[in-house]
């Protein structure tokens, strides 16, 4: 193996990590491709996919928050200062790193599930190396609290590498279980920040929506579509009292939608935490060669998918857009509202 002789220690470590991460679940409990290990790989895939969707939704929320701040410049004349814009951009970059980590974990878990033997596929090797890179690239939002979990994830990968070097498959599986446990802790510690990001988005969007409503800058006629559409008729609201009444209704709808958005994200976050814990607990069982009772995907993932799906379309259209362009300075006369 000439290549192995010339490879750097880091490259060798990564190559070993790739094969380790592929093998550890399937060879947990004494070099056997157990049904439990295969089920764990499938469940890990589902959980990691939901985690990816969760972070992608947050990414969309941050992209839209950036745009909403730009709208405030036009509507109220409130400056969108460079420092705040940079903070939002930086926060978004960190969320994207977490989404990338979750995506790499998904890819890796999918490759686990495909494997039937001890031969590592090229795709799986690449996924494992990429995962290691993503863990190393994380900048922590709570350096004091989160570093423990990040260090645990790094140590876990190291344990897996060492174990495979020494042909200790069970220890390798235990390394993966430590990784998923640390990932769960990492998510839980940062969860209040994720909630806060969504709260900012809800607050600024609902405030702008109600301001536009109160100033007669919306078309309320769509409220009548439900009555008119079946008959091919188009609403045209001309009565001022009727418009005011609809606007009040619309304001209440904005409040209700904002409250629903808050609850659905809280539920999704709680469910994501539970799902990650369930997943970590199941892998611990596999790693310790104990029977795994539950083999279905964690049921709580449905809440995560439901919340994240609200931002799926927006993700496709806005996630790759550049940050909102804002005027250099707001027009001083643009702030007057009724």
């Amino acid at each position: 193996m000439p290549n192995a002789r010339v490879a750097t220690p880091r490259a060798r470590r990564r190559a070993i990590a790739a094969s380790v991460l592929l093998a550890c679940l399937f060879f947990a409990g004494g070099c056997k491709t157990s049904d439990d290990a295969a089920a764990a790989a499938t469940q890990l895939t589902a959980t990691a996919k939901s985690l990816t969707d969760y972070y992608s939704a947050l990414d969309t929320i941050l992209a839209q928050t950036d745009q909403l701040n730009a709208v405030q410049v036009v509507l109220y004349g409130i400056p969108y200062d460079d420092a705040t814009k940079a903070q939002i951009t930086d926060t978004r970059a960190e969320i994207q790193k977490r989404a990338a980590l979750a995506k790499d974990l998904t890819d890796l878990a999918q490759n686990f599930a495909k494997l039937t033997g001890s031969t590592a596929s090229t795709d799986a090797s690449a996924s494992a190396v990429q995962l290691e890179t993503e863990v190393e690239s994380l900048k922590l939002t709570k350096s004091k609290m989160g570093s423990d979990e990040q260090n645990l994830m790094k140590i876990a990968v190291g344990l897996v590498v060492t174990a495979i070097q020494e042909h200790k498959e069970r220890e390798a599986a235990q390394g993966i279980s430590k990784f998923t446990t640390a990932l769960n802790g990492f998510f839980t510690k940062e969860a209040p920040d994720y909630i806060s990001l969504n709260d900012d988005y809800r607050s600024i969007s609902s405030s702008l929506a109600k301001s536009l409503l109160q100033n007669g800058q919306t078309d309320p006629s769509s409220f009548f579509k439900v009555a008119l559409d079946p008959y091919g008729l188009t609403p045209e609201v001309t009565d001022s009292k009727l418009r005011k009444d609809i606007e009040k209704l619309a304001e209440a709808q904005v409040d209700q939608t904002s409250a629903d958005l808050q609850k659905s994200q809280q539920d999704a976050t709680d469910s994501m935490e539970k799902s990650l814990k369930q997943m970590a607990d199941r892998i611990v069982l596999v790693a310790n060669d104990k029977p795994m009772q539950a083999r279905t995907a964690p049921v709580t993932l449905a809440d995560v998918e439901k919340w994240a799906s609200q931002f799926t379309t927006s993700t496709q259209s806005t996630a790759t857009t550049t940050p909102a362009k804002t005027p250099a300075s707001p027009a001083k006369t643009a702030t007057k509202t009724k």
């Binding site: 109220y76 420092a83 806060s196 900012d200 100033n215 509202t337």
Partner: protein, 109 residues
């Protein structure tokens, strides 16, 4: 007691929810400028702290958080009742100043 982040959120979100109404109550460009300056400062304090570690057990942070908690309660009343706009802006300025101090303390830790 709330955490430092949640108090900064409260200041910023309270202003955010009422900013349209507050701006509409301003009668001069000077008042509007003062108000938007405070709004930008509250938003800046919030975003500056989102990515930072929070050491809620630090005595100075605890004291400032408690002070901001009290001020936030008054702020909610002020922006809801909306009496004299100059008084309201002054009260907003005091609350935002406490928030900025809290943010600076947190960032420095």
């Amino acid at each position: 007691m709330q955490t430092a982040l949640s108090e900064l959120e409260t200041t910023y979100f309270t202003l955010q929810a009422k900013i349209g109404m507050l701006l509409a109550a301003c009668t001069t460009q000077g008042q509007r400028d003062a108000l938007t300056t405070q709004y930008v400062a509250a938003r800046s304090a919030y975003w500056s702290c989102v990515n930072k570690a929070f050491h809620d057990d630090d005595p100075a942070v605890v004291a400032l958080t408690t002070q901001l908690d009290t001020s936030n309660k008054q702020l909610k009343t002020d922006v809801t009742q909306l009496g004299n706009i100059n008084t309201t802006i002054n009260n907003i300025t005091q609350v935002v100043t406490i928030g900025a101090s809290l943010a600076a303390k947190v960032i420095a830790l």
